[in-house]
Amino acid sequence: MSMTTTDPGVNRPSAALADDILLGWLRKMLLIREFEIRTMAAYQQAKIGGFCHIYNGQEAVVTGTFAAINDDDPIITAYRDHGHALARGMDPRHCMAEMYGRVSGCAKGKGGSMHMFDKPNWLFGGHGIVGAQTPVGAGLAFGAKYTHEVLKRGPKKVCLCFLGDGAINQGAFHEAMNLAGLFSIPVIYIIENNGYSMGTAIHRGTTMHDKLYKKAEANAIEPIEIDGMDVLNVYDKFKPYADMLREEQRPGFVDLKTYRYQGHSMSDPQKYRTKEEVGEYQDRDPINSLAHHVLSQRECLTEDEFKALQKEVKAQVKEAVAFAEADPAPDPEAELYSDVYANPQPNLSPIRDYVEGAKNPLL
């Protein structure tokens, strides 16, 4: 199996990018992978509670699409969100502390793994209710368009709204697509199509599973399909598409084919697929593909430099874990009653007044 899909004859936007940018992508993907490996270990030691959805295998999706947009374009996603947070620039220490439920977490340890928020980086959260983010994403994009066109402030923006293949079947998504199509709202729905909704393979739960784009067309949205196992390919296909939608201020739909290496969450016996199937995708691993490209094709990285990069990322994540472990748990006196309402006032709760809690480390 070939390690890259580079075809030199075709116009590839990524070919024009500086070496440093591609090396930055490699670093980002290594960081996400290493972060998830450490997360799994911490989960197994019961240091992380609740449910935990691992991003391994899907790194090229966020890396390639984020590279094609601006830093102040809003992003909203589902619960498999650690990769989105890190790729958008969240400090891994705050991300890990959130998993640990500690006070320096991005949401002060109140949201947990499924609810990563980073407002300064325009990340409007992971969402634990499947599909709930899809109309909200339309609203974010609507707001950006209104701000630009009516208030005459701010640039033309697009909102990236991520959802899984299972989430396509939520009614909310169909309402959102119709709205976006009807009002020409610049929200780009990115289906992270990893082929499974928990234990349900896509063909068992979704009509026209190999022609998902038709669902977008039915809502007057011009769709594309992208193979998401290669970050160069993601960028090359997504960049001109996103540029066009930004310019014309209209919605998009990307059937982005990817794969999750781990189970749905940390407690998944994975009876619904074979090891061979997982292996086939691991053979096309997005990190290996990009590493191969920068080492052997661009030759902008040496083997030694690659090893040093891996070492550096490992150390960074190790430090994030140490930070999370040393970070205090939220103080129940202050944090059980904070952040429920603004402007604490008497009698909102007959038990105790709501208070201002600790300051969110990311605000």
Binding site: Y100, G101, G111, G128, S197, A329, P330, S349
Partner: protein, 324 residues
């Protein structure tokens, strides 16, 4: 008799009702091939086939609405919603439709449907996976709401729910799915909906609870003074309310503490406290106490145990009420 967990008792009730009545069908996300997120429906698709144990798309409104249609058409659907928070997308179908068809059609169209939903906190999960919304549904005329706390009751009440002519929300306290085992008869039996259970008889003070907190109440009682005689009531059914059992008990003891996980304000405890003052006013020797969750969003993980009423808080509430 077999020694079963709550999960096994529910599985047994489903198996037996499906054997006995071919109108009973299950539907939900991953309930078939995977046996459900909590493995409650394990083995049922293999036994009864994919026509009767249906893996649905990820779409709660669709699941609930089509279950309603199945019930209208004469079947006995038992949809599963994976967590109480996912009732959100199904809320319209459940409250605006399932609950009201009987009235709206003046009795012509009825919805004999049992909605199975894991409920409550204590498993280190975040909000939407740890909430206790029973009062919302008890406040919806047309729905019945139950929440068994033992394997024996779980089996008997599920059978009652499936045979009930009206929609029943069958909440399963997920924290105690596998917490303990109990002797459960092999034969089919029913535990009536609308009947509370006196777990322990007493004369000085009544403690009322339901779901997983019943266990916390039992634990609390172990640490209370021996000469304080407590009557512990497990509501089992939230709605319709077993007013008689409560009134009889509180008229005898004159004191009452209500314990629940849901936020205190407008929780189901508020309704019970009102009923008690309406019916037992002249017997009361202390204000009715509530030991409940706080009026805040169900917190994640590290603060979860500060939120949930535990044996210590329950004991403190009991002592305060006893000393009044």
């Amino acid at each position: 008799m077999a020694n079963l967990t709550l999960v096994q008792a529910i599985n047994l009730a489903l198996t037996q009702e499906m054997e006995a009545d071919s109108r009973v069908i299950l539907l939900g996300e991953d309930v078939g091939k995977n046996g459900g997120v909590f493995r409650v429906t394990e083995g049922l698709q293999a036994r009864f086939g994919a026509d009767r144990v249906v893996d649905t798309p990820l779409a709660e409104s669709g699941i609930m609405g089509s279950a309603i249609g199945l019930a209208m058409g004469g079947l006995r659907p038992v949809p599963e919603i994976q967590f109480e928070g996912f009732l959100g997308p199904a809320y319209d179908q459940l409250t605006n439709h399932a609950a009201r068809y009987r009235t709206r059609s003046r009795g012509a169209v009825t919805i004999p449907m049992t909605v199975r939903v894991p409920v409550g906190g204590g498993i280190h999960a975040p909000e939407l996976h740890s909430d206790s919304p029973e009062a919302i549904y008890a406040h919806t005329p047309g729905l019945k709401v139950v929440m068994p706390s033992t394997p024996y009751d779980a089996k008997g009440m599920l059978i009652s729910a499936i045979r009930d002519p009206d929609p029943v929300i069958y909440f399963e306290p997920k924290r105690i799915y596998r917490a303990f085992r109990e002797e459960v008869p092999e034969d089919e039996y029913t535990v009536p909906i609308g009947k509370a259970k006196i777990v322990e008889e007493g004369t000085d003070l009544t403690v009322i609870s339901w779901g997983a907190t019943v266990l916390q109440c039992i634990e609390a009682m172990d640490n209370l003074p021996e000469d304080l005689s407590i009557e512990l009531i497990d509501m089992r059914t939230i709605y319709p309310i077993d007013v008689d059992t409560i009134v009889e008990s509180v008229s005898k003891t004159g004191r009452c503490v209500i314990v629940h996980e849901a936020p205190r304000t407008c929780g189901f405890g508020a309704e019970l406290a009102t009923l008690i003052q309406e019916h037992c006013f002249l017997h009361l020797e202390a204000p009715v106490q509530r030991v409940a969750g706080f009026d805040t969003v169900m917190p994640y993980y590290k603060l979860e145990l500060d939120y949930l009423p535990d044996a210590k808080r329950i004991a403190a509430g009991v002592m305060e009420c006893a000393a009044y």
